[in-house]
């Protein structure tokens, strides 16, 4: 590593050290949670932050994030109107509200959470030995895309993590809506959203992560970590909707474990942010599982959106399916790096991966790297990647039917990403996301015409 980089990392470590000291909880020093965070911090100290020399971070530099000495954000009031703005029409949810990383129980509404389910702050949950052991075990797995310093950073500095337990055979009908607000503050602030989700045998649950910024929120850095453990036959639908402002950064790590017959669906929609990096990893621990990754990214201006996915097929008879689509304009940069590993024992695996991007302007850049690593012979695996522009003959067709050109392009773009959106299992989510996408595409199109 060059000396310049080393100096930068040293200064990053200095401000991280300050934050770590000031965030110590008021619990006694030997409290399990404090111990847990100390261990994570040690791990963080031993790791280097990724640079573009690391193969997995080749296209995205995090220097811009690391040089900013972020502070913890404060719990500031959120108005009723602002809260109402988060309502997804036609969808009743169990609501958890976080402001600048701080949980605000007064704005949250958890009345409809089934009584058998447990929802606790991680700090409190750690007092139970069984839960503590489970959380320890989850956080110890750093396979796939999880090998980066941001995960231990989340564990060491996060102070409002949520532990969620869905017991055997329980179906949570209402989606659990995690709303993360970034609000205006004096200086750049960061937050470390944390969700530990334990779905027991044959349970079903939907979580929606909703990252948004209020007007004037300034530069924020969200370093999120989500751990999902699916026991046999469990089903988890995981939505992640990201609409931060154009000055904000987000690094998002999701680590999933799947036991036999379980289904994990991930839906990722990225609309906002300056630098966005998603690391999504699933380890298939037993046979006959199903994993679906759906992703949409729309970037304009100087936005950078980097999706890294990893699926570890360790067991036979599993299925995985990935579909990521995005539209880039202005000087935006998109990255897709999908890796599928099929180990020797994972016979009869079906693994599919598709990434398509539309590049609207000449300043935009798309880098794709769909990888297959296969050690088993009786498998069906394929991947595809396309990068291109709108098919002019389709535009012509629509125009010949009397649709003006801007609308024709908009329609085609909407249809392009619509293919992904329509895989969502909640109808109101499809409509909601569709509308958000239309709004953003409209903005893109009008910029291009002006």
């Amino acid at each position: 590593m060059s000396t310049v980089l080393q100096e930068k990392q040293t200064s990053t470590r200095a401000w991280l050290e300050e934050r770590f000291q000031e965030s110590a909880s008021d619990k006694p020093a030997d409290h399990a949670y404090r111990q847990f965070r100390r261990d994570a911090y040690k791990q963080l100290q031993a790791m280097e932050f990724p640079t573009r020399r690391d193969e997995d971070w080749k296209y995205t530099s995090v220097n811009r994030i690391l040089i900013t000495p972020f502070q913890y954000g404060r719990l500031t009031p959120v108005s009723a109107a602002e809260l109402a703005g988060t309502q997804i029409p036609g969808l009743d949810t169990i609501r958890l509200v976080f402001v600048n990383g701080n949980w605000d129980p007064s704005l949250s509404d958890m009345d409809h959470l089934p009584e058998s389910c447990t929802l606790l702050p991680v700090e409190q949950a750690m007092e139970d030995t069984a839960i503590r052991n489970w959380i320890q075990a989850q956080s110890e797995y750093t396979g796939g895309t999880g090998q980066n310093a941001f995960l231990p950073m989340n564990l060491a500095l996060g102070n409002h993590g949520i532990y969620l337990h869905i017991p055997k055979n329980e179906t949570v009908n209402r989606p659990i809506h995690f709303i993360y607000f970034n609000t205006p503050g004096d200086q750049p602030h960061f937050s470390h959203p944390q969700i530990f989700l334990h779905a027991e045998q044959s349970s079903t649950v939907t979580i929606i992560e909703d990252h948004r910024a209020l007007a004037g929120a300034g530069t924020c850095f969200t370093n999120a970590g989500v751990w999902v453990d699916l026991e046999a036959n469990a089903q988890v639908h995981h939505y992640r909707l990201q609409q931060q402002n154009a000055e904000s950064y987000q690094i998002h790590n999701t680590q999933v474990h799947q036991d036999r017959d379980s289904v994990y669906n991930s839906y990722v929609v990225d609309l906002g942010g300056r630098i966005i990096r998603n690391n999504l990893s699933t380890e298939l621990d037993d046979s006959n599982t199903e994993t679906h990754y759906y992703g949409v990214y729309l970037a304009d201006g100087e936005q950078q959106m980097d999706n890294q996915t990893f699926i570890d097929h360790a067991m036979p008879h599993c299925q995985s399916n990935e579909l990521y689509k995005g539209i880039l304009s202005d000087r935006a940069r998109g990255v897709f790096n999908g890796k599928v590993l099929v180990r020797q024992d994972a016979q009869k695996t079906n693994a599919f991966q598709q990434n398509s991007s539309l590049v609207l302007s000449n300043g935009a850049v798309m880098d794709a790297k769909p990888q297959l690593e296969i050690y088993a012979d009786d498998v069906r695996c394929s991947h595809g990647a396309t990068i291109g522009h709108l098919d002019e003959s389709s535009v012509f067709y629509l125009r010949s039917r009397g649709i003006p050109e801007p609308q024709a392009r908009l329609l085609l773009q909407q249809a392009f990403v619509g293919e992904v959106i329509h895989n969502m299992h909640l109808e109101p989510m499809i409509e909601y996301v569709d509308a958000l996408i239309a709004t953003k595409l409209n903005a893109l199109t009008s910029v291009e015409q002006s």
């Binding site: 193969e55 020797q344 016979q347 991007s357 590049v359 609207l360 302007s361 000449n362 935009a364 850049v365 798309m366 880098d367 794709a368 790297k369 769909p370 990888q371 297959l372 690593e373 296969i374 050690y375 088993a376 012979d377 009786d378 498998v379 069906r380 695996c381 394929s382 991947h383 595809g384 990647a385 396309t386 990068i387 291109g388 522009h389």
Partner: protein
Amino acid sequence: MSDSMQTLEQHTQSDYKYGFTSEIDTETLPKGLNEEVVRQISAKKNEPAFLTEWRLEAFRKWQQMTEPHWPKVTYPAIDYQDIIYYAAPKKKPVLNSLDEADPELVRTFERLGIPLEEQKILAGVAVDAVLDSVSVKTTYKEKLAELGIIFSSFSEAVHDHPELIKKYLGSVVSNQDNYFAALNAAVFSDGSFVFVPKGVRCPMELSTYFRINTANTGQFERTLIVAEEGSYVSYLEGCTAPMRDENQLHAAVVELIALDNAEIKYSTVQNWYPGDKEGKGGIYNFVTKRGLCAGVRSKISWTQVETGSSITWKYPSCILRGDNSIGEFYSVAVTNNYQQADTGTKMIHIGKNTRSTIISKGISAGRSNNSYRGLVKVGRNADNAHNFSQCDSLLMGDRCGAHTFPYLEIENNSARVEHEATTSKIGEDQLFYLQQRGLSEEDAINMIVNGYCKEVFNELPMEFAVEAQKLLAISLEGSVG
């Protein structure tokens, strides 16, 4: 283990059929590498000063570089001081006919199945046979000379056409391009040089056979092909090497330059010693191959059939600089036993309306690992660039691996880039169908594999296509998936 697996095992037990050492006296420099060795190589070849300087510059640069380890291959560390960097047949024969050649050498070629006289008469192929490092025999040279085509060994070209060498050497792969290219530039012993003048269509396939003959000799060949405006040339390179226990390093460099409207077709059949069934021995094949489509509407086409070497690490690439230029890459890579291959291509689109096609077929058997690694880059000004890539992998057996690492870097919105990859095995139903038609399991496998590779074999010149099919059958002997 199923029956089919057993047949596979039997088949893969077959020994390397081209393993023998011909006993010709060779003059060698002592092991090791330093500036003095570089100077000596240059002196032995009576090279002009500019080339000596060029070598030394490369050597100094090489000393500052570190060996790259990013490919998905593993091998014990190479001791660069334990290699003989120069070996030449002692009696440099000046031959007018084949009778004057060392009879041992002629026999060697006969055992390889390339009798020079036969080829001269039957195939109409001019063979520039390179045994170890010095060119021994160049045929058809006069015929080509009539057309103005220069086809000679590299050292001859240095003496006869220094101005061309000076102009083009290192213009595509510089003497400090990468670790192995720098090493090659410092110590390259010989190679081939082809120059096709303006408007000339080379009437025959030019071909060279490389053989690694002296034990512990790294073979550092350098090929330079220049096709002037509107010319066409098809170049064949085929390789077989004798059995060795110690790994031999091969770090060749191939540079192609196509000017306006020129076309170069470069075909390779590589069957170097892959090591024995335990993965012992075998050739390290670390090659830098790159073509520059310098002019408008120029075209460079790489076709390769890679069956040998214990480690193959090469990425024949095209830099599409001229507007409307075309780059193609067709590859069949077969790995068996403990072989490792990390191969693919780079297509760098710089000019407008450039097109590239990548067809890569990987076959892995035994305990081998076969990776496709490729880059498609479309620069900011490369309007209307179009790329199509297809990478298929075939797995024969459950101890082998097939990997794909495609990189797509697109900076222009008018580009159209498509990449697809599949991984599969030979279906039981396909086998069953062929067997119930009366084919043996072996023949059935061969037929399926040949069908799988057809797309690439079709790109090979006729003589090579036959050889390639034969090689494929030998490489996968007994492999039933």
